[in-house]
């Protein structure tokens, strides 16, 4: 019987790998560009009160930005100054803290500065999945509750002026 042990261990490992593969954010249905944002309601960070809902996004007739981030995500630190820049240019940015502890989110924002108009917490990551978030950071440009553009990964210095800003401006027209 003990000869079967290696086989059984392998079965357990491949089971884990299979689940791991399905956890792969690539498998999560990605929100289509020009589709309305999914229905959701998220609490504020570290509380029960409603922080952000799809209705609030749908009610905006100016361009807004939704940024998914986490304090444990190194690229989010890289991206942070550009969000501050966007805020300084007068854009309204909503932050969604992805699978993050409230305490850590607050420390992150306190230390680096808060670029967000409002911050909501998605502790289980469910709403992020509905949005089709691939991984953090990820940034959505939304107007009238419709997703117009999606940027995966950190907003990079190289593309900020040449790509991200023009797109936001063109959506804003």
């Amino acid at each position: 019987m003990n000869k079967f042990i290696p086989f059984m261990i392998f079965c357990v490992i491949s089971g884990a790998l299979y689940i791991g593969l399905n956890l792969n954010p690539g498998n999560i249905p990605s929100a289509l560009i020009n589709d309305p944002v999914p229905q959701f309601s998220l609490p504020v960070v570290g509380g029960e009160e409603v922080g952000l809902t799809s209705d609030e996004l749908a009610g905006q007739d100016e361009v807004v930005i939704v940024n998914f981030f986490a304090s444990w995500c190194a690229p989010c630190y890289v991206e942070h100054p550009f969000l501050m820049d966007l805020k300084a240019r007068g854009y309204k940015i909503y932050g969604v803290a992805y699978k993050d502890k409230a305490r850590n989110t607050n420390t992150f924002l306190a230390e680096l500065g808060n670029p967000y108009y409002k911050v909501a917490a998605d502790e289980v990551g469910r709403v992020s999945i509905d949005f089709g978030v691939y991984g953090v950071p990820e940034t959505y440009v939304i107007k009238n509750g419709v997703i117009r553009y999606k940027h995966s990964g950190p907003i990079h210095e190289m593309e900020f002026e040449d790509k991200v800003i023009p797109i936001i401006e063109s959506v804003d027209q």
Binding site: I19, N22, N24
Partner: protein, 651 residues
């Protein structure tokens, strides 16, 4: 046109592997000579078509044919020719094609060198090899076609990640793949033997050179990767325990165990089931490594493009190959009768200890690598397992391993005289102990682990030399004659162990006693580190073939003697746009001086962030690994004589 020929050749190779993997296997069961004799020609044909296919892809890269998606995505006209060529295997599709090519190469080598093997075993091994290859061909054709075209095609390609544009990394994947895939031969032999139900000394004599060959390439490939990280990533680290590194390290650990257990099968006709299991596991780790790197299951999703379709395919393939062979093992292993018995203190049991420690070490690395994934799967928690875990758990296992490595070669087969070994090695042990304690005090009584590791390295170095001296009866009459009569295998063993000793000494020293100096420096500023005096002289702007850079000049002197200046660069590549650092390194046998220039601190460009490191005995690490590989090849040149003589078992 040539690209289409490549695609077509890939399909032909796939079909040939299907033929090679089925008819001869059936023929071996039915004892039909005609069906069996298909195997070898099919293996040669498969190599021909795989090579044709790979060459076609390489041609597309060399001429920058951007109508091929793969080329457009990974190449650029401005890239130097070396990196156009290395881009062929530097991307997902190309690297899998390269895998398949090497698999075919090994298959053809088995077909050629194995002509004198028992016929049924020979064709079974070839068939298994072909079935593994079939999986890779299907993977290419169904999910990752390297020859896909686009229209309209872009005028310029995306370029290759600049970090990868480096000679060290151009040759790192081929070596690593030669190692990974080399283990497929051992695997095919193991499965072939399970089907045959027979494992004997002749089988082991066959398996050893293949394991050794794969091991040499793996060692060289891992070292090259580590060396690349050391000088290219710019902070002088050489091992990070990241999943991709671990993916290459796990097969190395198991292959090292296999190398030793195959000796026991060959010399003493025992440990058969264990050796077969190791052969299966070693290749399983190779495949698992491919899965980890290629499916993106463990790496950051933004670093590698992930594709669940590919992941599912590889996982299914993995399940069939590994699961199937382990099941076969479970069903057939009882047929493998153990042979010679041995006493608890003997060469055999020393090798068993080696095997246990190496296997547990591989399991520890696997656990650490997969744990974040398993945790995420079960609870959704995001965690990382970092170097502290690996350093502690792995290091803990290496201490007894190195202690036993010093003793093992002195133990005789069947029954060894423990007291005799102890009395012979007691002075060596005492010397290592004294050296360790001395280093502990020289270093000011800090870092006890540094002293432990240095002591272990010295113990291994001295005991290996002592055993060799004992064997050739150094300083006694005719010792030179004895020296020249040593078999190459035993010379290889001595060199392999010596190499590890040298590497361990280097690792201990550079890990615990390195020093670092980070500062903002203006022109004319001075700093000193590791006995060197460094003066920041100036910076220049330079333009390379596909990058622009700041090149700094540092004047170096030691004990008042002026040495050649060091010139580190901070580059910005054009396509894709990305900054990289090119460290300047002054390597001596005593240690490396490592200078990195960072960003300008002021708008006037006269103050720069500068990082200086001194890494004592760093070069010993690479030198030790090189000695290990040399030992492996010397040992291999010995085995070559026996490759054709598999049936003549010496009594």
């Amino acid at each position: 046109m040539i690209v289409e020929v490549g695609h077509y050749a890939l399909i032909v190779a796939c079909l040939l592997s299907l033929i090679q993997g089925t008819f001869p296997l059936y023929g071996a069961v039915k004892k039909q000579g005609r069906l069996m004799s298909i195997a070898a020609p099919a293996a040669y044909g498969q190599l021909f078509f795989a090579l044709l296919s790979f060459s076609a892809l390489m041609y597309a890269f060399v001429v920058s044919d951007f109508s091929v998606v793969n080329v457009a995505r990974n190449s650029h006209t401005l890239k130097p020719m070396l990196y156009k060529i290395s881009a062929t295997w530097g991307n997902h599709e190309g690297s899998i094609l390269f895998w398949a090519l090497i698999l075919a190469l090994y298959g053809a080598m088995v077909a050629y060198f194995g002509r004198k093997l028992p016929k049924t075993l020979h064709v079974r091994v070839l068939s298994i090899q072909a079935l593994v290859g079939l999986g890779f061909y299907l993977f290419l054709l169904l999910t990752s076609n390297p020859f896909e075209r686009i229209y309209p095609f872009p005028m310029e390609g995306n370029g290759l990640n600049p970090l990868l544009q480096d000679p060290g990394l151009a040759f790192h994947p081929p070596l690593l793949y030669l190692g990974y895939v080399g283990l497929s031969v051992t695997f095919s032999f193991a499965v072939g033997a399970l089907i045959e139900g027979r494992v004997d000394a002749a089988w082991a004599r066959w398996v050893r050179p293949w394991t050794l060959l794969a091991w040499c390439f793996l060692t060289a490939g891992i070292t090259l990767g580590s060396w690349w990280a050391y000088y290219e990533l710019g902070w002088g680290g050489w091992w990070f325990w990241d999943p991709v590194e671990n993916a290459s390290f796990m097969p190395w650990l198991v292959a090292t165990a296999l190398l030793h257990s195959a000796i026991v099968v060959e010399k003493r006709d025992t440990l058969k089931a264990w050796t077969i299991l190791l052969a299966i596991i070693a290749f399983s780790f190779s495949l698992l490594g491919t899965f980890i790197v290629r499916s993106g299951v463990l790496t950051s999703v933004h670093a590698f493009a992930t594709d669940p379709e590919r992941g599912v395919f590889i996982l299914l393939f993995l399940f069939l190959v590994i699961g199937g062979s382990l099941l076969l093992f479970a069903l057939r292993a009882d047929k493998l009768q153990p042979g010679g018995l041995f006493a608890p203190i003997s060469r055999e049991s020393m090798l068993v200890i080696n095997n246990l420690l190496l296997s547990v070490a591989a399991a520890v690395v696997m656990f650490g690598t997969l744990y974040p994934l398993i945790r995420d799967a079960l609870t959704g928690d995001k965690i990382t397992v970092g170097p502290p875990f690996f350093n502690m758990a792995f290091g803990f296992l290496m201490i007894p391993l190195i202690l036993f490595m010093g003793i093992g070669p002195s133990a005789s087969w069947k029954r060894a005289d423990l007291m005799g070994i102890v009395s012979r090695l007691k002075f060596v042990f005492a010397a290592a102990l004294v050296a360790g304690i001395a280093f502990f005090y020289i270093a000011g009584g800090s870092e006890i682990m540094a002293a432990v590791w240095l002591g272990l390295g010295i113990w291994l170095l001295l005991s290996t030399l002592f055993e060799w001296a004992d064997r050739v009866k150094l300083f006694k009459p005719a010792s030179l004659k004895r020296m020249s009569r040593q078999t190459r295998a035993s010379v290889g063993m001595t060199l392999g162990h010596l190499g590890l000793a040298v590497a361990v000494i280097g690792m201990a020293s550079t890990s615990y006693w390195d020093s670092e100096h980070q500062s903002i420096m203006s022109y004319g500023d001075q700093a000193s580190i590791g006995g060197y005096d460094i003066t920041f002289k100036n910076t220049d702007g330079i333009i390379g073939p596909n990058y622009s850079a700041v090149k700094a000049t540092f004047d170096i002197s030691k004990d008042g003697v002026t040495l050649d200046p060091l010139r580190p660069e901070a580059r910005v590549y054009l396509s894709p746009p990305m900054p990289t650092t090119e460290a300047a390194i002054l390597s001596t046998i005593m240690g490396d001086l490592f200078v990195v220039i960072g960003e300008a601190n002021s708008k006037d460009y006269d103050e720069w962030a500068v990082r200086l490191y001194y890494k004592p005995l760093q070069i010993w690490l690479w030198g030790g690994a090189a000695i290990m590989v040399l030992g492996g090849f010397i040992s291999l040149s010995d085995r070559r004589f026996r490759m054709g003589l598999s049936k003549r078992v010496k009594k």
